[in-house]
Symmetry: C2
Subunit: 168 residues, 2 copies
């Protein structure tokens, strides 16, 4: 994770920003798992991120402009992490990653169902989901109609036998 730029190629610059094993995991949990606090991100991660790695990634992602950090008014020590517009625009990329992984790698059905729904939903569904993220993370008005996030959570719950809420 050096900070020197290797080249101005868009692929390379994207790799330098999110091309490691943890950054996108953190963004995924913020995006689909709706985890907003350090401890939530730490404890509920499927992959078991270490606290120092999480702290480092949160710091880097805030510096890179992908996350923002704010105080929780209900608790002086709590920090709330939010996705920025820059991170919300990663949705199509993340959907493609999910689609490719689902097709070529040994995924677990209950963890793959959301990737499947988003892939089948196409760009309209991605846009709707991005608008919901803007409402939750940026304070934009929540779009009317049924929520994509609810559909994803329901599909996950149906397969995993849990109540809605959502693990990635």
């Amino acid at each position: 994770m050096t900070s020197t730029i290797r080249s101005g190629c868009p692929i390379n610059l994207t790799l330098e920003t999110i091309g490691d094993r943890w950054s996108l995991i953190v963004i995924r949990d913020l995006m689909f798992g709706n985890r907003r606090h350090f401890r939530e991100l730490l404890a509920a991660s499927e992959e078991g991120i270490a606290s120092n790695i999480l702290a480092d990634r949160l710091k880097r992602l805030v510096e890179a402009g992908l996350l923002s950090k704010a105080d929780d008014p209900s608790h002086k020590q709590k920090a709330i992490y939010s996705l920025t517009e820059k991170a919300i625009q990663l949705v199509p990329l993340i959907v493609q990653m999910g689609a490719w992984g689902r097709r070529h790698l040994p995924t677990t059905p209950e963890l793959a169902i959301r990737a499947q729904l988003l892939e089948e939903g196409g760009p309209e569904m991605w846009d709707a989901f991005m608008d919901e993220l803007r409402a939750v993370h940026l304070g934009a008005p929540m779009p009317s109609g049924p929520r994509v996030a609810d559909r994803l959570a329901a599909a996950y719950a149906a397969l995993s036998g849990e109540q809605a809420g959502g693990q990635p």
Copy 2:
């Protein structure tokens, strides 16, 4: 780059396969730069990959089923690396990476033009490009009509002042 699986989530599995700083660079050069030999990949890389890292990534990518390796009949010591179908299906993901990088990171114009063309061309153009890759790397018949690869190379050449051939 450990080999233990952290979770069955499609995002995570994709990250475990290509989520590092070099794997996609190698695939990009094979895909857009049409480099097929070790020395070509080593010397002509914008980012300057080290020979031991390149050797390691080629080995891993072959093991992961993303590349195949064959002898060059014209030279006993030459090895030819080819993309597999699995790697060719990364095209939409790579296009999304390029699109995001171009929009949010300080890219160089001549290196970004191909990302722009592919983004604007949409899924039809991606499919056409994937068919061309199948012809070049898998021995499938080359589709008729103007080549996407030629358009990309021409656009790059026009901006960089070089003759066609193509740096990523």
